[in-house]
């Protein structure tokens, strides 16, 4: 990256700073970006962008990650800006680092859709959604944990604008200083870690290609691969 260079059309991962523990694992982006670069045609911006909801850069950042531990509080202004962001085409990935469906993070984000939109709610994303097919063919959702809740989504104007992972999607990427993975993936072990890493790639691809993989041109190929009639 040379001085003065700007992201332009490149993929930028923006992380939302909030009053809770907004960065529980530190900067995982270099590894995720490298993985994206090596496996996909995405040209990711090398640095993550950290911003608050009041930051003007929010509206230059089409991919936003809300993660952390503990309760997340949004002021009315914050909610207004997040609503405007999602309505204008922004994409939000909410990742529960606690991986605890009864924890404070889960409780605080569960009411987020209703605060943003009158009929907003988290709805389970079905297995045939493009999120599960945007790059890898995935049968189900998993993270550091596998609660069986799957992925949840918030649709805005017919577009899947926000995805909520209750199982800690970033956890499987975290490494110890020695280089190994820091957290085990439960209950599936390493295969689950692999699936969890694939799912994050898929979510990034989905944010850039939308329902592309549900277009008619893909259906015959996907049916054959999935052994569907």
């Amino acid at each position: 990256m040379s001085a003065g260079e700007v992201p332009g059309n490149r993929f930028v991962c923006s992380v939302l700073r909030h009053e809770g523990t907004w960065d529980p694992y530190g900067d995982l982006w270099p590894e995720i970006a490298e993985n994206l670069r090596r496996t996909t045609s995405i040209d990711p911006w090398p640095d993550r962008r950290v911003l608050g909801l009041s930051d003007p850069a929010l509206f230059e950042s089409p991919f936003l990650v809300l993660t952390g531990r503990g309760a997340v509080a949004f002021s009315p202004d914050d909610a207004d800006r997040l609503r405007a962001y999602l309505s204008a085409g922004g994409f939000l990935l909410v990742d529960n680092s606690e991986a605890d469906p009864a924890g404070p993070f889960a409780r605080s984000v569960s009411s987020l859709p209703a605060r943003l939109f009158p009929d907003g709610e988290w709805k389970k994303i079905p297995a045939d959604n493009a999120v599960f097919r945007s790059f890898f063919l995935l049968a189900e959702a998993a993270g550091r944990r596998k609660s069986g809740q799957g992925l949840k989504g918030l649709w805005v104007g017919g577009r899947l604008a926000a995805v909520y992972s209750p199982d800690d999607l970033e956890g499987p990427w975290v490494r110890s200083p020695a280089g190994g993975f820091l957290f085990p993936c439960e209950p599936g072990g390493e295969p689950q870690r692999l699936e969890a890493r694939k799912l994050l790639v898929n979510i990034v691809l989905f944010s850039l290609t939308g329902t592309y993989k549900t277009d008619a041109v893909h259906q015959e190929y996907l049916k054959r691969k999935l052994d569907l009639p």
Binding site: V6, G8, S41, G89, T209
Partner: protein, 717 residues
């Protein structure tokens, strides 16, 4: 038979005759009162004076002796109005149409007519035509009474005209003048019930001039109600016999009801539709229950092929915009994996599909309206020179091509030397210029075919910054028009017309920042207009053919065409021609003449009522510039059936101005016919003038001299 005819009566003649008669009476009276005159002399002088006065009167009144003979072969025209209003079923209580009532009456009197004259049958619609029988019904769209004057040529020597009509005419000039000039009496027979008839009538239909196949369109229909009780009726829109949409309209005491019907055009191209009202029970006039209108229907949805070499926000936002546009059918391929990407996964784990082969792309190309390439290194995916040649042909034949991304305009552009290079709006053989990475987009100073805003440049300063690689094309290709430029710097977007097609180039891939930055409407407007321009939608046609306000069959109308270049500037020096195919299959052609300001005019005369297809083509300096098509509903402005109330006053005027007579159909009796034909029953064989001759003068002189000599001989003063 012998008869006498007096000279042309004038006021001077009349007064002279009165004075002369008075003088003669005075002179005879004077003789009668004089004493001392023998009765014989009194009588002789009275006779002489009376004879002289008579001779003088003869000279003044200019009588002629006529030798006549009876005849029964005078040609007489029997003309029946066969236009729309004559189909109204109000002629009698049993509900037969005016036309049928006339046919019955004419057939009943035909033997009498044939005995008294030599009748010749005609139908009158928008023209006069000879008929052997009264069949076929009232099928004409309208009637033009002034066309009755064509009798002079259609039946030379005709002595009188019987005209059966309801007096309701569809158009044409005032018939009284031309008919008076005919010089023969016109006997008019009025048919129909002058009282209001029960009628639902479509008065007008308003619809947008263009729409899309299978995309909902609307027609607003104005319905006039005459003598109908409160109720409701179904209003539908048909095309080629197929009902495309309908709704119910309800009324209580209104005279006019306006309703909007939604419908989905089923076919692309210039189409004629018909708004149709279901008949009201007992409705006398069904002809105004339908009215045609035309629209230029675009293809069902514009088919767009969008190939993207690398997923990014630009693809995400533009794909969403196109995918949610109901007028677009999007087929898209995005390269998710490059050949050099390292994958530790089996193919079954991936959702990737093979990129279409060049053959597959070429085969499908003609089915698209526009193709978009975004950062697409086509050579790496097997699209070689044949693919570029095919894309060039696609554009020249009318396709749209949008090429996005600054790689396309870099010194190493894969398009350099390709078949597409001459179609690119930016010159690839010029060194690119360096510029800022972040910049605000703004419009160029000159005219543009489309823009993100309707007017003014204030809004541009409110748009979020765009971003790019800091490199801008070195120059525009000749003929290209800039659409956007980086603030204070080089061109950002430009368009170029190529053959029948259009090409747009866009350097920056960050217009999505407008949408995310709170200017979503601007983003949508910009791309909607860009796509509309690329696919040659009606508002961006280089040639727009404007139909005349009304085109009446047989009447000259003026076609207008507006010719613009790619930037929307008027083209003053184009050459245009048009061809027309009429409802009855007849064909015609003509040329346009420049009227200034990019406007061109041509006169056109449609002969047949109904929809006529017109195609206008323009060229400039020998090169094809553009074409447009419309469907013209000839005669639609002469909607005679809109109000079918009989107009007997007009018929009375016509008969009065031609020395004819008027009656209603009930009065069309044997006696009326005989009376009307009486003046035609005798033919003058010889005419002997009696007053206007030297003999009459001589007689007068001899009589006056004889009277004077007689008095002198008898010693009278």
């Amino acid at each position: 038979m012998i008869g006498i005819e007096l000279g042309t009566p004038t006021e001077a003649r009349a007064w002279t005759a009165v004075l002369l008669a008075g003088a003669a009476l005075w002179a005879i009276g004077r003789i009668a009162r004089r004493r001392g005159i023998r009765p014989a002399d009194r009588a002789a002088l009275s006779v002489l004076r009376l004879a002289a006065a008579s001779a003088a009167l003869l000279l003044i009144l200019d009588p002629a002796l006529l030798v006549k003979r009876r005849r029964s072969d005078a040609p007489v025209a029997v003309v029946v109005d066969a236009s729309a209003s004559m189909a109204t079923r109000d002629a009698r209580r049993n509900g037969i149409s005016r036309w049928e009532a006339v046919r019955e009456a004419v057939e009943r009197r035909w033997p009498l007519l044939s005995r008294r004259c030599s009748p010749i049958l005609f139908r009158l619609e928008n023209r006069l035509s000879r008929a052997d029988r009264l069949d076929g019904g009232a099928r004409g769209a309208l009637s033009d009474f002034s066309r009755l004057a064509e009798i002079r040529n259609a039946a030379p020597g005709v002595k009188a005209v019987f005209f059966f009509s309801d007096g309701r005419r569809g158009g044409g000039p005032d018939p009284r003048g031309p008919l008076a000039a005919l010089g023969v009496p016109v006997f008019t027979v009025g048919v129909g019930n002058p009282a209001a008839v029960s009628d639902l009538g479509i008065e007008s239909v308003r619809a947008a001039p263009f729409g899309f196949k299978n995309v909902e369109a609307e027609a607003t229909v104005r319905v006039r109600l005459r003598a109908v009780p409160p109720g409701r009726a179904r209003l539908s829109v048909f095309s080629r016999g197929e009902r495309l949409g309908s709704r119910w309209i309800e009324w209580t005491r209104e005279e006019v009801v306006e309703a909007t019907v939604s419908f989905r055009p089923a076919r692309a191209g210039p189409e004629t539709f018909e708004a149709v009202l279901d008949p009201w029970p007992g409705e006398a006039n069904l002809r105004n229950n339908r009215m045609g209108f035309s629209m230029d229907i675009g293809r069902d949805r514009r088919r767009i092929l969008y190939i993207c070499g690398r997923p990014g926000p630009n693809y995400a936002f533009l794909r969403h915009q196109l995918k949610t546009d109901p007028t677009v059918e999007l087929v898209t391929f995005v390269i998710l994996r490059d050949v050099e990407d390292i994958l530790g996964y089996s193919d079954r784990e991936l959702s990737l599909i093979p990129f279409p082969t060049q053959a597959e792309i070429l085969e499908g190309l003609p089915s698209f309206d526009a193709v978009i390439f975004e950062s697409f290194s086509f050579q790496r995916f097997g699209v070689g020179p044949p693919g570029m040649e095919a894309l060039k042909r696609f554009v020249l034949n009318g396709g749209g091509f949008l090429i996005m991304g600054d790689e396309a305009y870099s010194p190493s552009s894969p398009y350099r030397g390709s078949a597409l290079e001459p179609l690119m709006p930016f010159a690839l053989d010029r060194e690119p210029s360096a510029g800022p990475n972040r910049f605000r987009a703004e419009p160029p100073s000159g005219p543009v075919p489309f823009s993100a805003f309707d007017k003014g440049s204030v809004e541009w300063s409110l748009l979020p910054f765009l971003e790019g690689g800091g490199v801008f094309p070195g120059a525009l290709r000749k003929g290209a028009i800039p659409i956007l430029r980086a603030e204070g710097d080089g061109p950002l977007a430009a368009v170029l017309g190529a053959g029948r097609g259009r090409v747009m180039g866009l350097v920056s891939l960050s217009t999505w920042r407008w949408a995310l930055g709170g200017q979503e409407e601007t983003y949508i407007r910009f791309w909607s207009r860009a796509l509309a321009w690329l696919t040659g939608e009606a508002e961006f046609k280089r040639v727009r053919l404007l139909p005349p306000e009304g085109a009446d069959p047989g009447e000259e109308a003026i076609l207008r065409a507006l010719v613009r270049d790619e930037a929307g500037r008027p083209v003053p020096d184009a050459e245009g021609s048009f061809s027309v195919r009429e409802a009855d299959g007849g064909r015609g052609a003509g040329v346009f003449r420049a009227a200034g300001g990019g406007e061109y005019l041509a006169s056109i005369t449609i002969k047949a009522a109904g929809p006529a297809g017109i195609v206008a083509r323009f060229r400039r300096s020998g090169s094809f510039l553009g074409e447009d098509r419309i469907v013209l509903n000839a005669g639609s402005s002469w909607n005679e059936a809109a109000d079918v109330t009989p107009d007997f006053a007009l018929l009375e005027d016509v008969s009065r101005s031609t020395d004819g007579r008027f009656t209603t159909l009930a009065g069309f009796t044997d006696d009326w016919v005989k009376e009307a034909l009486a003046p035609l029953a005798w033919e003058t064989r010889r005419r002997i003038p009696m007053g206007d001759s030297p003999f009459a003068v001589l007689v007068l002189v001899v009589l006056l001299l004889g009277e004077w000599v007689y008095r002198r001989r008898r010693g009278f003063p």
